[in-house]
Symmetry: C2
Subunit: 514 residues, 2 copies
Amino acid sequence: MSDTGARRRGRGGGGAARRAERTAVRIETARYIERNIPNFEILTEEALEIIEANAETVLAEVGVNFVNNPAALERWREAGADVEGERVRIPRGLARQLCATAPQSFTQHARNPEKNVVIGGKGLVFAPVYGPPFVRDATGGRRYATMEDFRTFVKLGYMSKWLHHSGGTVCEPTDLPVNKRHLDMLLAHMTLSDKPFMGSVTEPSRAQDSVEMCEVLFGRDFVQQNTVMTSLININSPLTFDDVMMGALEVYAKNNQACIVSPFIVGGAMAPVSVAGTLTQVLAEVLAGIAYSQLVRPGAPVIFGAFVTSIDMNSGAPTFGTPEASHILYGAGQLARRMNLPFRSGGSLCGSKLPDAQAAYETANTLNTALMGGVNFMLHACGWLEGGLVSSFEKFVMDADQLGALHKLAEGIAVDENAQAMDAIREVGPGGHYLGCAHTQANFKSAFWRSELLDYKPFETWDEAGARDTQMLATDRVAKLLETYQQPQLDPAIAEALDAYVAEKKAAMPDAFM
Amino acid sequence: MSDTGARRRGRGGGGAARRAERTAVRIETARYIERNIPNFEILTEEALEIIEANAETVLAEVGVNFVNNPAALERWREAGADVEGERVRIPRGLARQLCATAPQSFTQHARNPEKNVVIGGKGLVFAPVYGPPFVRDATGGRRYATMEDFRTFVKLGYMSKWLHHSGGTVCEPTDLPVNKRHLDMLLAHMTLSDKPFMGSVTEPSRAQDSVEMCEVLFGRDFVQQNTVMTSLININSPLTFDDVMMGALEVYAKNNQACIVSPFIVGGAMAPVSVAGTLTQVLAEVLAGIAYSQLVRPGAPVIFGAFVTSIDMNSGAPTFGTPEASHILYGAGQLARRMNLPFRSGGSLCGSKLPDAQAAYETANTLNTALMGGVNFMLHACGWLEGGLVSSFEKFVMDADQLGALHKLAEGIAVDENAQAMDAIREVGPGGHYLGCAHTQANFKSAFWRSELLDYKPFETWDEAGARDTQMLATDRVAKLLETYQQPQLDPAIAEALDAYVAEKKAAMPDAFM
C-alpha cells in the first residue's frame, strides 16, 4: 500500500495543531494493539482445505446473486464468470485470484495523525457499537435514539482510552430524516472526535457524500491517495449482493476507501446449522465480495468480515457469546489469514436486555475469542446490548474498560532479565513478602492492568458507599467522562466548510423518513 | 496408573443400584470434558527453558522451607538435598527427577461409577467453589455460612449437569466446631451427591478421618487400590511448606489419594510483580511439593496447581480475571504439560461483591483462559464471589450454566460430510432460508449449545414478565433445582455406618471453635 507511513498533510497540521497543543486538555488514546501472542488455530490444515475446496464448489456450482446491478454482472462476465440472469457462477480459483490484489494491511488515517490505525497483520483496532435504533441508560431506560444520543456516544468514544476508532452509526438518530442523517453523523465524527471513522452505506449517493465530506476535512488529494474511511458492507446472506450495499462499495473502492465485506449471518437461518457449513458459506461470500471490490479497483483496501451468531432454535432469536460463534470466529480468522487479508469479527455482542451478568458473560466470551482468533478490526467493541437493538451508555464504558485488559493480554509475557526477577526471589526468600522489595518498587506501576471502573474495595467500604453494582458505577463514569469532555481543535476554516457542505446538501432535498 | 478403567466394586453395585434405577428421577450429569481443541501456547520454547532453569536455580540456591516437620527434612536429606535448619536446598534436576514417578493422569472414583473422572491428559473436570466463610443470595444478602448452606450447595452441585465433581468446602460451615465440621461436610458429599469429592486438609488427623470415611463408603481395599479423593494442598508462598498442609499431604499420599499441590499467590505480594518471575516461583514451589509427595509414596497421584491472582497496587486487594492472571495461567499450563502432570487452575474467580457484570466479565475471562490454557482440574468452577469470601447461590447456577458452553467449545469443529452441509447450501441457494431445509431439520437439536438460564426472549415478552436481570433469573433457577432435588440412593448399611463413624468421632472430642 502506498498510504502507510507518516505523511504530512497540507493543512490542519500547522498553526491549528500548535494552538490545540497549547490550550486543550490532553485526552489519552492507546495505540492500536499489535499482538505479541500467537493466534489460536482451531482447524487443522486438512479441515481448512476441505472448507476452501467446498467454498470454490459453491461459487462454481451454486453461484451468487448480484441483484439490480447490470454493471456488476458485466464486470463479472468480463472477468470470466458464468452469468445467467442475476446469478454469477465463478470458476474455481478465479475469485481467490482476483482477491490477491487486495492489500494485506492498510493505514486508515485520522485527522489527528497520532490516531492513525493500521488494519491487518498483527494489529487489532477497536471501534464502537454500530447500528442500534434504541439507546438505554440506567435513569432513562430504553428509548428511540436521537442525534443528541449519537453525539454523546461520539464524545464517549473520544474520551475512551482503549478505543482507537470513532466508528460509524453508533446509534441510529431516528429523529432525523433518513436521507439526511448521514450528514449529521459524519459531521459529529469529524468535529467531536479526532479518531478515524466510518462512512455511510445506506445509499451509494450517501457514500459519495461521505467521500466529499472527507475531501473537505482532509483535502481532496489526500483522500484520493490515502484511506480515511472504513465502511461496513454487509452481504445479504445467503450468497446475495444487493445493489445498495454494492453501490456503496463501488463508490468507496473507486475512491480508494476501505470496505469491510461482511456476511451477516444468524446460523441456522442464513447459513447451515453446522459450523463447517457456515464457514464454507462465509468464505464463498467473502471471496465473491472481495473479488468484486478488486474488479472495481484493483488494490482497493478491504477487510474479510464475519458477523456470525448462533440461534435459539426454540424462539428463533439470535444468541451471542456462544461456543458455536467462537468456533466460527476462530475458523474464519484462519481462512482470512490464508487469504492474507485483514479480518473483522467479534465485539461486545450479547443478547441481554440489561448490562447485567448475562451481557458480561456473553461479551467477555466474544472479546476473548476475538483477541485469540486474530481479529484485526473489531466493530461493536463496546456498547452493544440486546442483540444490537440497543446502544447502552453504561455498557459502552463497561466494555471499553475491558478493552484495556485485552491490550495487556496481547502484549504477551516478557522474559528479559527484569521480568525474570531472580534478584527479587533471592532478596525475599522463603516466607518473605514482595510488596516492599526493590523489584516491586521499580515495576509496580506498569506491572498490572488497572480497571478504571470495577470495584476492588473491601466489603465494608463498598457497602457504606451504597453497595453499588457495575451498572451504577458505570452511570457515574459516563457522567464523569462527559463532564470532562473537551472538543478537539479543528481549523475553523475546515469546520465552516463542513457546516456549509451539510447545509447545502440538506437544502437540496426534501426530508424523507422511509 | 493401575486404577483407571472399569472396576467392579464388591458392594453397592448390586441390589441397591438396581433399586435406585427403578425409583429415582434420573439426574443428568455430563461426562468430564475431553478436549478436541489445541492448547494455547503463549510462551516460546526459549522462554520456557529460561523459566525452568531459573526455577532450578531457586531450588538449589534459595531453597524452600519445610516448617515444623523433622520427618520431611529427613526425607529430603536422604534424597540428596542440602538441609540447613528448616531450609531445604535441592540440587539442580533432583526435584524434577523425583516428580517423574507421579502419574500423568489418574481416575478419581465416585460412588456412582458413571461419575468417575479422569484427571489429566486432555481432560477437564469441574468442581465448585471452595472455602468461603460467607454465603450470599438475592433475598438474604451476605451472611456467615452454615452447615445447612453447605448441604444446599452440595445439592445444587448434584443437580448441575455440567459440574463433574462435588468439590470440598463449598462453604465453611461456621456454625459447627472447627474440629468436627469436616465430618459433616464429608457426610454431606457422600450422602447428598454421588459425584466425586475432596477430603479435609485442615489437620493431618482430619485427612485421616477423610480416608477412614471413604473406607466405609467404598470399602477398605478399594480405597487402598484406587483414588477416591482429590484434596487441596496449598503452598504457603513464597517457598514455604507448613506442617499442617504437608501433614495432610503425607496422609493422602500414603493412602494413594490425590493432592493438588498448589501455590496460593497474590502476585506482587507472595511472588514477584512480573509474570515470568511469578511463573519461576510457581514452578519451583510445585517441583518441591510434588517431589516431596513422591518421596512419601512414589506414584502417589498429584496435580500441578497454580492459584495466582494479580493485585490492585493501590488497595492491596487481590484482583481476578485480569490479563496478568491469564498470562500466568497459560504459562503455568505449559510448564505442567512439560512435566507430564495434570494441571489445576482457573475457576469462576471474581472480585465483585455481587453477581453482576463485573463478576461475569472477570469469571468469563478466567473460564475461557482455563479452557484454552489446558486446565485439567478446575476448582471454584462455579459459585465464587467477592474474592473467595462468599459462596453465592445465584452465581453458582449462573457459572454452572456457562460451563456448558465450555463443553461445547472443547468439542472443536466437525468437518465430516454432514458438518460440511454442501447439500444444504445447494438446496437453499442464494437468497433462500435454512430454517426449513432437510439438513437443519436433521441437525438442529444438537447444533447449538443452549443455556438453561439466560434470557433470549423478545424485549416486550421479557418486559411484561418483569424485566428480570440475570441474578433474578438465577434466584428462580436455584429454587427450581432444589425443589426437584432427590437424594441419590445409597446402601442403607453404608449410610448407617457413616452416621455411626461421625457420631463416634464427634463424641470422642470436645468442641473446638478455633
